[in-house]
């Protein structure tokens, strides 16, 4: 028990510290701002920890979800800047979509662990709970958060245990989306899909349903791509494929990130010696690209320290997951999904293996909203341990 507790507290502390170190070298103002957030949130959440008992969290956690939905709508109506992701009260700005992720985790846990309802009702409800914020976030438009919500729901439902068809669908839908980019790949996809469905021994209605949903996906993806995505979003999504070619656009950041990390080498340029972030060549050096700017100054060794700290943290959550049952297990899996998606998307997009969708690196990136959500998630995990 104590090991798990340590595994949940110490790695985040290390990561937050490393993030603060890097922020210190990027910009003193950013560093002080983040440091004050860390202190305020820690005190706030420590107070919560001692005041609130475990059943309260399980019962009242979903309230976060119900608070965040109106906030998301408010963001759409009164959002700041061209991308309405932020909501401001005075000088403070906040990104409610971060909170939605945690809210969704609680709501899904509570919904799916309800023993009085049938599986179908529960899944339908879970789907509706996911789609409402998903649509709101897509409207902002914030592709990264929308995707995170979907994957959180997917992993939670998967851990809950459902028909393999649904899992299969969840994996095949993105493939259907990708292959719809070209007619040839679409045809290949459907030939393989049909052969798979012939081999599988399943009721015919499930097979028809699978084909129906996937066909709908294949047909709607090009329409969404052309009509619903803004040019800057399309650029973001494709730039990572060829960052050198699309300098000055989205690819530029990724290219600069590559130069930052690559020029850092094995041991790095040394604290504060990074030229990429220091000269603001990486405009998002302190947020989405903190991994790269850390890599420029602390090299491969520094990045490996970060990676292994994350591994310890993730293994601890997975250990907890094994020990839990019911609602608690679902919440833990949601939280794991939350951290894991952020971790994967952020680092892989830094390494130009995935498109940049504006997802922060847990604990390290500058920003209060995600930090608060992350700390609240850890508080939840700790509370569940009691």
């Amino acid at each position: 028990m104590k090991r798990i507790r340590n595994g949940l507290i110490i790695p985040p502390l290390i990561l937050i510290s490393l993030g603060l170190v890097e922020l210190f070298f990027i910009n003193r103002g950013l560093f002080l701002s983040q440091l004050s957030k860390v202190i305020i949130y820690s005190l706030l959440l420590a107070g919560f920890y001692f005041l609130i008992k475990k059943p309260y969290i399980l019962n009242y956690g979903p309230i976060i979800y119900y608070i965040s939905i109106p906030l998301l709508i408010a963001t759409l109506l009164f959002g700041k800047g061209g991308v309405s992701r932020w909501i401001g009260v005075g000088a403070l700005t906040f990104q409610p979509s971060e909170l939605t992720k945690l809210g969704l985790i609680f709501v899904l846990g509570k919904t799916l662990s309800d023993t009085k309802k049938t599986i179908k009702t529960k899944l339908t409800k879970a789907l509706i709970y996911t789609l409402i914020p998903f649509i709101l976030v897509m409207l902002q438009p914030d592709l990264g958060t929308a995707l995170t919500l979907l994957i959180i729901a997917f992993i939670t439902i998967w851990v809950y245990g459902v028909d393999p068809m649904l899992i299969r669908l969840a994996i095949l839908i993105p493939i259907a989306m990708l292959t719809s980019a070209h007619i040839v790949s679409t045809i290949i996809f459907y030939i393989m899909l049909l052969s798979l469905l012939i081999i599988l021994k399943e009721p015919i209605y499930k097979k028809i349903l699978t084909i129906g949903i996937l066909t709908l996906t294949s047909l709607s993806t090009p329409i969404v791509w052309q009509k619903m995505l803004k040019p800057y979003q399309r650029d973001r999504l494709t730039a990572f494929l060829n960052p050198e070619k699309s300098l000055n656009k989205e690819g530029w950041q990724i290219y600069q990130a590559k130069i930052a990390m690559g020029s850092g080498g094995i041991i790095g340029k040394g604290p504060g010696k990074g030229t990429q972030k220091g000269l603001a060549f990486l405009p998002a050096a302190h947020t989405d690209f903190i991994f790269s700017s850390f890599g420029e100054e602390f090299g491969l060794l520094g990045l490996i320290v970060i990676l292994f700290t994350f591994i310890i943290f993730f293994r601890t959550i997975l250990r907890t997951l094994e020990l839990k049952e019911g609602n608690e297990k679902l919440i833990v899996s949601g939280i794991f999904a939350y951290f894991f998606i952020h971790f994967t998307f952020n680092i892989l997009s830094n390494l130009s293996l995935l498109p940049v969708v504006g997802i922060p690196l847990p604990f390290l990136s500058f920003g209060g909203s995600h930090l608060l959500t992350e700390m609240a998630s850890i508080l939840t995990l700790l509370k569940l341990e009691v």
Binding site: I155, W158, V159, Q256, K258, I259, A260, M261, G262, S263, G264, G265, I266, T275, Q276, L279, A280, F281, P283, G295, E296, G299, L300, L303, I304, L307, F310, I311, F314, R315, L318, L321, E322, S333, F336, F340, F343, T344, I347, L348, L351, L353
Partner: protein, 552 residues
């Protein structure tokens, strides 16, 4: 499989991918990306190199440079707002601001500003961070450079074509004429670079992050002309509107004089461009190498060589001049109405008898005349390294293709009329070939150029006869320039009076000196000035007198 287990495997897979990618970036590509990182924040800006100086043979500076200021833009960081304020600040600009980014990453907006103008700009300019003031070396010419303007040429901003061809940048200067053009690659120099550290928004972080690379001034060039002689030639031309003087050393090829009137002032060429272009006197034409004129009697030297070569003429051949020559149903008049009487070849050259040479031409025959000239393989250009030299038109079958050639054409050709058109420089080359008994070095404008030789391999007797005739032009009492005889100047020459459809005859005089060991050739052309002996010859004598006097 339990989801926990799958997630654990997934975690390791992703961490594995990350580490492989990091290894690629930070170990395998480290060197390459490290270099990119340095280039990244250092932006390189060109420092134009001063052009090399141009001197005359005595080391007098004809062209040098001075620093001026210019305002440059970094188009990448120009916002629409900036463009608008630039428009209000400068008014009309020659460059289209909306396509500025296509012109490079450092583009000139205004040039040739004085210090006061720069101060004024700084006071009025709002904060346009993408504008930079820097110094630019600008070509300047001496007061006297205009007397040799066709040889020196001028510089001006490179055209789009030149920018592409020579990999220049917008606003760079390039030689457009004269040696500024032909020796541009030497004179241009190597631009340097200065560095600025900029962030992605174009904010200047450090204006001197690494020492600049100093530009290398272009090579200095010493021309073989003497600007004093050029100026002296100009004083001799004060009564004439148009003309040219060309002179060179037949042994080394060094050009000693290249004067063309009217001339232009290379200093203010851009501001007076329209004026020069519209001037009916065409001051931009280099009359020495681009002006084509009928050679008139000066061509008789070549006719004599053709005749001697054809064996229809010898030193002793005598013809009678009654004042006219009849061929077919036409009569060609000699310039001397009463006729020269019976003449030998030498006297015919000295007195420039038309009828004698009409006879020579008639005996050679039209086709034979062209064939022999073909065999001489004379160059049609002097290949002097000044751009735009015109090809002469002499009776060669290829050149006269499509023209109406009559059997009587040769009568005109023999006295340098008809289709024939030559430049003063080319005529100097012919005189040089005769003076050097067939051997002549082609003209060059700097000492360093390689010598190019021409050899017209004919028997020495041929040349000696012609040269004797040329000596008597000056030294014989009956010679066409006999009245100018000065025993101090050992000149051999030939006068020419070229009829032309544009008014009075052109006055020609071509000579070499000294007689016994020919070294220099000078040819003078005065447009529409009448007899060669009256206008051109005195000018040539004055020039030779001065040239020889200065040499001693």
């Amino acid at each position: 499989m339990k989801p926990e287990r799958t997630l654990r495997i997934l975690l390791w897979i992703i961490v594995g991918i990350i580490i492989v990618r990091l290894f690629q970036y930070q170990v395998l590509e480290h060197k390459k990306l490290e270099i990119l990182a340095t280039y990244n924040y250092l932006k390189e800006y060109k420092i134009p190199a001063p052009r090399g100086n141009i001197y005359d043979r005595n080391g007098i500076t004809l062209a040098t440079w001075k620093p001026t200021f210019r305002i440059m833009a970094i188009p990448k960081f120009l916002s629409q707002e900036d463009i608008n304020s630039i428009k209000t600040l400068f008014g009309e600009l020659t460059i289209n601001l909306d396509t500025l980014h296509q012109k490079g990453n450092y583009v000139q907006l205004k040039s040739m500003l004085t210090f006061e103008e720069v101060v004024k700009f700084l006071e009025e300019a709002p904060e346009i961070k993408s504008l930079v003031i820097d110094a630019e070396p600008v070509r300047t010419y001496s007061q006297d450079a205009k007397y040799a303007s066709h040889l020196i040429g001028y510089v001006s901003e490179a055209s789009q074509e030149e920018i592409e061809k020579f990999q220049l940048e917008y606003g760079d200067f390039i030689g457009k004429a004269g040696c500024e053009r032909s020796l541009d690659t030497l004179l241009r120099g190597t631009p340097g670079a200065k560095f600025m550290a900029l962030d992605s928004k174009g904010n200047l972080i450090d204006d001197n992050p690494r020492p600049p690379i100093e530009p290398k001034q272009g090579k200095d060039i010493s021309l073989t002309i003497d600007i004093g002689l050029q100026k002296f030639a100009d004083s001799l031309f004060q009564n004439y509107q148009r003309g040219a003087v060309f002179g060179f050393n037949i042994k080394t090829g060094e050009v000693i004089i290249l004067y063309s009137k009217p001339y232009f002032d290379p200093t203010n060429i851009t501001s007076s461009w329209k004026e020069y272009i519209n001037n009916p006197e065409k001051p931009l034409i280099n009359r020495c190498t681009q002006g084509l004129y009928p050679p008139g009697s000066t061509f008789k030297l070549l006719t004599a060589l053709v005749g001697l070569y054809s064996q229809t003429l010898s030193e002793n051949t005598a013809y009678y001049c009654s004042g006219g020559f009849a061929f077919g149903n036409r009569i060609w008049l000699c310039w001397k109405p009463e006729g020269h009487g019976t003449l030998g070849l030498i006297d015919a050259i000295a007195q420039s008898c038309n009828v004698y040479f009409n006879n020579v031409g008639a005996h050679v025959g039209t086709d034979n005349f062209m064939e022999i000239l073909e065999k001489f393989k004379l160059p049609l250009k002097t290949e002097i390294p000044i751009p735009g030299e015109a090809k002469v038109l002499i009776p060669l079958e290829d050149l006269l293709k499509g023209r109406y050639i009559l059997p009587s054409s040769v009568i005109n050709w023999s006295i340098g009329q008809g289709e024939i058109q030559v430049t003063p420089a080319w005529l100097s080359l012919i005189t040089g070939i005769i003076a050097g008994n067939g051997k002549c070095t082609l003209p060059k404008i700097t000492k360093d150029e390689q010598e190019k030789h021409f050899n017209l391999n004919l028997p020495d007797e041929f040349y000696n006869v012609v040269k004797e005739g040329m000596r008597r032009v000056v030294e014989s009492r009956n010679g066409t320039a006999g009245y100018l005889y000065d025993p101090q100047l050992k000149i051999s020459a030939k006068t020419g009076t070229a009829q032309n459809p544009h008014g009075r005859e052109h006055s020609w005089f071509t000579c070499f000196f000294p007689n016994n060991n020919p070294e220099y050739v000078i040819t003078v052309l005065v447009e529409n000035a009448g007899h060669g002996s009256e206008a051109a010859a005195p000018i040539a004598f004055q020039l030779v007198r001065r040239f020889v006097g200065e040499k001693n």
